[in-house]
Structures are given as structure tokens and as C-alpha cells.
């Protein structure tokens, strides 16, 4: 055995993990034995799924599964390389063409994940002498992307266009390029960025706009075309970024915009250039997901019917569901301990929804974050609502 004389290089691994456990901050990974379904088996128990991002239940759609099988049979299990060298299969380019058409933009580009878009593209869009102006509640992957730039950073108040204008006025005098970045749908509160107003303001100042529409893609806008369609400003947002991993039911990041943007992006994003490309099965399922969205509008409609019913009923019991405008419905409890207790008890009763506590949200705004699924029936929703009502009363929340 090697004797460690100078320092123990691995000691911190255990120390830091133990520290997380002591503070109850470690991730308890739950195992799904069933696939992500409206009724899932989580840690051995059947529960109603209210915390997946599989909004449209497309991950279980027969056409997507068939699309994956067919592509794997035709192209094999792996792609063999990174996109830039020998890993661009015809099916990858087919997805990009179909996606641009669906998003009503000139062009589009598929990345390995949404995170790979934000951490690979943002640092290329701005540099020394530029500024990134960011909504204060933007997602962590944007924050990481911004950290990799040499640009200055300024924050504007959440969804506050006047505050953004004040920052722009100041930035206008000082910087070469200005990039405004916002989430489209904010994942903690389910509210929507006022992209129509942001784009208008950006045009006045000659600023570039970048929206992370991970939770809006497949959910908002006509037939789930995303935030551009939601505000009828398709093609006017400079970078529409999204993901295939949520409502689309597969995996993979995406951007939609001009051909100039796409040419720039794939030549400059190191995450795109240096990661292996998607296995053909992934692309096959992506293509099928776009097909389904274009031909079966009932999934988006059912998602919204479920969302409206669930929100209305929760509100009628007296729950505070905040300012959500989307299928992300927070049930604001206030106290962190109570939110955790409610989540545990819901699980015991057969409803799976996780608590979100400080510092992810304000100290007095701890909540259960529910995310609707188009595959849930009215009977399922009534079952879940019944449990919310019963436990809400038991814990004196309502």
C-alpha cells in the first residue's frame, strides 16, 4: 500500500460530502423503475408523477419509440464521432431542417444538451468590452455560460422591463456589444419573460436577445412552438435556445435563428465541436417528436386543460400558487420544514412532487413545485388534489 506522506489528495471528497449530509443538502437520488410515466414506480412505489419535465408525455409516445428503433436499425447505436469530424449523420441534419420549419426560423442547430448550448455559445457571443444583461432569476446554466465570458455582467430585476431599460441606458455608452439573456419560462415560478417588450427595447438599443426557452418549448405558443410563437415574434429573437429533454420527451439542446447565427455557433462553440454527437436513436425520436407536435395538437391542449383545472382547484382550496402562467404550478407553503413534510407525506399517499426551498427561492417562499403532465387523467388529478387538500389542512397550510 502506498503511504501518504505529504497530503491525502482524496480526503476532501468524503469531508465535503459529509458536510452536505450534515446540512441536509445532499441529493437523494430516487430510482424510477418504470420509465417516466404519468404513473411511475419511484423507489418501489407507484405514484402520480407531478415533477417530471415530460410535460406532453411524449417520452412514452409509440411514434417516438418507433422513431428511435427505426433510426437505430438504419444508422446503428452510436454516431462514431463529434459532429465536426465524422459524426454528422443525415438524420442530424434532417432534425435541424424540420426544427427550423417548426420554429419558423431560417435555421437551427442541435447541441448535445441544453447546458452545452448555454455554456458553449454564450462565451462566444460576447467578450472583452461587451456586457451581458441578465434577469436576476436566470437558470444556472446561463449563469455558468456567462461566467465563462470576459464580458462585464449586469443584472436586471426579474421580468422588469423598466429596470432593464435603465441598465441598457447605462450600458449603451460604455460597451461594444450588448447581449440580453432571459429564461423564457422561469422554472421556479412558472412565469413568462415579457420577450415582446424585451425584443422591442433591444432593437432600440441595438442589443442582441437570447432566450432560454427550455420550459416553454413544446408548451407555450401555437402547437407548442415556444416563446417566439407565444408573443407572435417568431424569428425576431436573435437566439431562441431550447431543449428536446423536456416537453419533446427526448434529450438534446437546440438553437433556432438566422443562418448566420447557426454558421457562427457551430464553428465557435467548443461544447458542440468537442462532444460526441447524438446517437441515431435520439435523432429518430426527436424527428418523431416534431412530427407528433405538428400532427397531434391534442397533447398540448390536454396539458393546458389539466393545468387550468389543477390550478383552479388548488386555488379554490386556498393554496397560494403564485404568479404562474404555465404548467409549472408552485404550491407556496412558506416554511421550508413544512414544504419538505408536505412533499414526504404526498409521496406516502402516492403523489410525487418535490419541495423547493431557500436559497433556490426566498426564505419565506418555500414550496412544492408541481409540473403538469398531459398523460394524467381527470381521475388522477382529482386523486392528487384530494391528497393536497387533506394534507394542506393537516399541516395548517390552508
Amino acid at each position: 500500500m502506498t503511504q501518504i506522506t505529504k497530503r491525502n489528495p482524496n480526503k476532501f471528497l468524503k469531508d465535503e460530502f459529509d458536510e452536505l449530509v450534515r446540512n441536509h443538502l445532499e441529493w437523494n437520488i430516487r430510482i424510477l423503475e418504470s420509465g417516466s410515466k404519468p404513473h411511475s414506480i419511484v423507489n418501489g412505489k407507484e405514484v402520480i408523477m407531478l415533477c417530471s419535465n415530460n410535460y406532453l408525455n411524449l417520452s412514452n409516445h409509440p411514434r417516438l419509440i418507433q422513431g428511435a428503433i427505426d433510426a437505430a436499425k438504419k444508422y446503428g447505436a452510436g454516431s462514431g464521432s463529434v459532429r465536426g469530424i465524422a459524426g454528422t449523420l443525415k438524420i442530424h441534419t434532417e432534425v435541424e431542417k424540420r426544427l427550423a420549419k417548426f420554429k419558423r426560423t431560417e435555421s437551427s442547430l442541435i447541441y448535445q444538451t441544453g447546458f452545452a448550448v448555454n455554456s458553449g455559445l454564450i462565451p462566444q457571443l460576447v467578450g472583452e468590452g461587451d456586457v451581458v444583461i441578465s434577469d436576476e432569476l436566470n437558470h444556472g446554466s446561463i449563469i455558468d455560460g456567462v461566467r465563462l465570458t470576459k464580458a462585464d455582467r449586469a443584472i436586471f430585476k426579474h421580468r422588469d422591463v423598466s429596470d432593464l431599460e435603465r441598465v441598457l441606458k447605462d450600458a449603451d455608452k460604455k460597451y461594444r456589444r450588448i447581449l440580453i439573456i432571459s429564461d423564457g419560462v422561469f422554472s421556479m415560478d412558472g412565469d413568462i419573460a415579457p420577450m415582446d417588450k424585451i425584443v422591442k427595447l433591444a432593437n432600440e438599443f441595438g442589443a442582441m436577445t437570447y432566450v432560454d426557452d427550455a420550459h416553454g418549448e413544446g408548451v407555450i405558443g401555437e402547437d407548442g412552438r415556444g416563446i417566439g410563437a407565444h408573443f407572435h415574434i417568431e424569428g425576431k429573437i436573435d437566439v431562441e435556445m431550447g431543449t428536446f429533454s423536456k416537453a419533446f420527451g427526448v434529450v438534446g439542446g437546440l438553437i433556432a435563428g438566422s443562418q448566420d447565427l447557426v454558421n457562427f455557433a457551430y464553428n465557435k462553440s467548443r461544447t458542440w465541436l468537442l462532444s460526441g454527437s447524438h446517437p441515431p436513436a435520439v435523432s429518430g425520436a426527436q424527428l418523431a417528436a416534431i412530427d407528433v407536435l405538428e400532427t397531434e395538437p391534442e397533447h398540448v391542449r390536454r396539458l393546458w386543460d389539466n393545468t387550468k383545472y389543477f390550478k383552479k382547484e388548488l386555488n379554490s382550496y386556498g393554496f397560494n400558487t403564485g404568479g404562474s402562467e404555465t404548467p409549472i404550478t408552485p404550491v407556496i407553503v412558506g416554511d421550508a420544514g413544512k414544504a419538505k413534510e408536505l412533499s414526504n407525506k404526498l409521496y406516502d399517499e402516492g403523489v410525487f412532487a418535490l419541495p423547493i426551498v431557500f436559497p433556490m427561492v426566498a426564505r419565506d417562499k418555500a414550496r412544492i413545485r408541481t409540473m403538469m403532465n398531459a398523460g394524467l387523467t381527470k381521475k388522477d388529478l382529482d386523486f392528487a388534489l384530494d391528497k393536497f387538500e387533506k394534507l394542506g389542512k393537516q399541516l395548517s397550510i390552508i
Binding site: 447546458f115 455582467r153 449586469a154
Partner: protein, 380 residues
């Protein structure tokens, strides 16, 4: 685990205010003659009452305090039992000396936090003895509360106390401000920075993963601010920088290995000290030689003043010569939580208006990171 909280009330704090005396330092007799009633006791009890109501674990608290109205009576009035008395005031009327002597007793076996009830004068007296050895939390009950150790209201103080006990708040720098009471009673404001105490602050969290956050110490935030200022100094090699007073700027200067006066303004050129603790006249002289100058300052005290309370050397003439566009304001995010509005009161209405017309100010809160903060011109 039990927590030890020191508790001291200045029974005569706030008495001058009601009778228009602007402070009770040295004029207690006059205040009493004018019909002043003690309000400190009421404020202290209000805070304790709220604290008992919101805190489930208040029974774990051991209160170390002083006899009679300097703490014991207020605690007992709320029904608090875990009391240890470490000091008894001499005579029927307490004075600043009683506060100071009690603090000496507290230091013999320091509590985790010293909660006091009074105004800026009380804070100053306590700080004289305690320095940075015990963190302070003030229940506002005086006439003047410019110091950063005070809660905004009695209820806010109770909430801070509860959160400190639950380890949700952490210890950081807080300014002790003082006003020249002699001048003030003649109608003149001269608020100055008296020293930097330890107070309790909201920790800053940074996002380190998708939904993971890490609490960063105030010191780490100041490292980032220092790095930012370092870039500014590198970028503007032929500019003079005026490093103003206060804990934040002092930390930045220390991290950059620049000698700095905590309570004064220093002139810096190419990262070395040009002139130490300069007054208005000296700044005006320096500006003749160095017309390109930037001011580096941070809000001081509880009310978010960047100009007009402390840093009085920055007269309207100085600011006009330098230009308001050359003022760099830095602040830690934890400071901005408590002072979401910044204020200026330069003494020159026209200059104040130039700030008001802007309405907002970009404040540097991290390395190359800034946000807009509302700016008011305000004479209290």
C-alpha cells in the same frame, strides 16, 4: 444547544427626540424637565415579545444582562427566565459609563451576540469597549440610528435575532456612525464613521450548479470586489483614485496591498498611496495635479448614504470637479439587502438634483458584476 445572548438596554435612549433635543447625550436633565418619557424599555419589550412569539427555540437562550431597567426588568416583563445578571448600575440614573462598565463585564465571558437597545450614542459607547470581539445587534430606540448594527424596526430586529440563533445569518462588518451632537442641536449635520464593528448579516449565495447554491462569506465577496477594482486601476493607469472610508473599501485596499485609512479618504495613484487621510482642501490641491480622478466609495451605515454622511471631505466642489460619472460605487450584496435605496445629501441642492435626475446608480456587487440601485437625494 443553548445560545448565550448578551442583552443591554440604555434606559434613557430616545428621550431627547420627543422633546426636540435630537439626542440625549449630555442633556438628560433638560430632557426630563421638558417631559421626556423613557421609550427604550418599551422598544426592548416589543422586540422580546415578538422574538418569543416567532421563535420556537427561545427557551434554549441564556440571557446575560444587567440589573433593573438595563435589561433584567424588560426580560422579566416578557416572562423570560434564563437570566444571568453580570452588572448592576450604580445610582438611580444610568449613564454612558454604566453602558461601558457593563460591556467590560460582558467581555469576561463573551456571549455569542450582544443585543442592545438604544441609538447611535449607545452603539458608540458599546463599540468603544467591545470593538469587534462580540457581534452587535441594535434594537432601534434612540433619536439617531445611522449605524449599520441596527434592525430597521423592532420586529425586524426580533426576526434577525431568531435567524441568527437558527444559524441562518452570519457575522459581517457593520459601521458605527456618530453625529456631533453639539453641532446637531445647533442645526448642523456632521455624521461621521466612528468605527467598524461586527454585526449580523444575510449570507450571500452563489449558484454553483443547476439548483445548487453555496453560501459565500462576505470576505469572498470582497475578494471579488477587490479583483474588480484592481482591473479598474490597471485600466486607468494615469488616473488618481480616491479610496473613501468604510469597511468595504478598507477590505478592498488591504487585499490590493494598498495602505488605507479606515475612517478617512486616501489618494491612490498607480496602486500606491499618494496622500493619506486627506481633507477637502488637500483633495482640491491634488485635483490640480491629477485632473483625471475617480472616486471609489461604498454606502455607509444603515440608511444607504453614499454622500453626505461620512466622507464629508467630498464636498460639492470636489464632486463637481471630478464629475459624478467618475464615482464608482461598490457594495456587497448582503449590504444591499438592507439598504435597497442609496441616498445622497451633498449639501448642494443643484448637485443633489443631478443625482436625482439620474434616479438610479450602477453599483458594482461582484467581479465585473453590477446592478442598478435606486438613488434618492434625501435630507433626514
Amino acid at each position: 444547544m443553548s445560545v448565550k445572548i448578551g442583552f443591554i438596554v440604555n434606559p434613557i435612549a430616545g428621550m431627547g427626540g420627543r422633546v426636540g433635543l435630537k439626542g440625549t447625550d449630555d442633556v438628560v436633565d433638560k430632557a426630563v424637565k421638558l417631559g421626556a418619557h423613557p421609550i427604550a424599555r418599551l422598544k426592548a419589550e416589543e422586540m422580546l415579545h415578538e422574538f418569543s412569539a416567532i421563535s420556537v427555540n427561545h427557551h434554549d437562550v441564556v440571557w446575560v444582562t444587567c440589573d433593573d431597567d438595563m435589561g433584567k426588568n424588560e426580560l422579566e416583563a416578557i416572562g423570560i427566565k434564563n437570566i444571568q445578571i453580570v452588572y448592576a448600575p450604580k445610582g438611580s440614573r444610568t449613564s454612558a459609563n454604566d453602558t461601558k462598565n457593563a460591556c467590560k463585564k460582558f467581555l469576561e465571558s463573551p456571549p455569542d451576540l450582544l443585543v442592545f437597545c438604544g441609538g447611535d450614542g449607545t452603539a458608540r459607547d458599546i463599540f468603544t469597549i467591545i470593538d469587534k470581539k462580540i457581534p452587535l445587534l441594535g434594537i432601534p430606540a434612540g433619536v439617531k440610528m445611522h449605524s449599520g448594527v441596527f434592525g430597521i424596526t423592532t420586529n425586524a430586529t426580533a426576526k434577525m435575532l431568531q435567524e441568527f440563533i437558527n444559524k441562518q445569518l452570519t457575522v459581517g462588518d457593520a459601521e458605527i456612525m456618530d453625529l456631533d451632537e453639539e453641532l446637531y442641536r445647533k442645526g448642523e449635520w456632521k455624521v461621521r464613521l466612528y468605527g467598524i464593528a461586527k454585526g449580523i448579516i444575510e449570507p450571500t449565495y452563489i449558484q454553483v450548479g443547476k439548483t445548487c447554491f453555496e453560501s459565500v462569506s462576505d470576505d469572498e465577496v470582497k475578494d471579488e470586489l477587490a479583483e474588480h477594482v484592481n482591473d479598474e486601476l490597471e485600466k486607468h493607469k494615469d488616473w488618481m483614485f480616491l479610496f473613501c472610508s468604510g469597511g468595504t473599501i478598507d477590505s478592498i485596499a488591504k487585499k490590493l496591498n494598498i495602505e488605507h485609512t479606515l475612517l478617512g479618504i486616501d489618494a491612490i495613484y498607480q496602486k500606491t498611496l499618494l496622500a493619506k487621510d486627506v481633507n477637502e482642501e488637500q483633495i482640491l490641491q491634488l485635483l490640480k495635479k491629477y485632473p483625471k480622478t475617480k472616486i471609489l466609495l461604498s454606502p455607509i451605515g444603515a440608511q444607504g448614504f453614499i454622500l453626505g454622511r461620512g466622507n464629508l471631505q467630498l464636498s460639492p466642489e470636489v464632486i463637481n470637479k471630478i464629475g459624478i460619472e467618475n464615482i464608482i460605487v461598490v457594495a456587497t450584496p448582503s449590504k444591499l439587502i438592507h439598504t435597497p435605496i442609496l441616498r445622497v445629501d451633498t449639501g448642494d441642492k443643484r448637485l443633489d438634483h443631478r443625482f436625482t435626475n439620474q434616479g438610479y446608480l450602477m453599483v458594482v456587487i461582484g467581479y465585473r458584476l453590477s446592478r442598478v440601485v435606486k438613488l434618492q437625494t434625501n435630507s433626514f
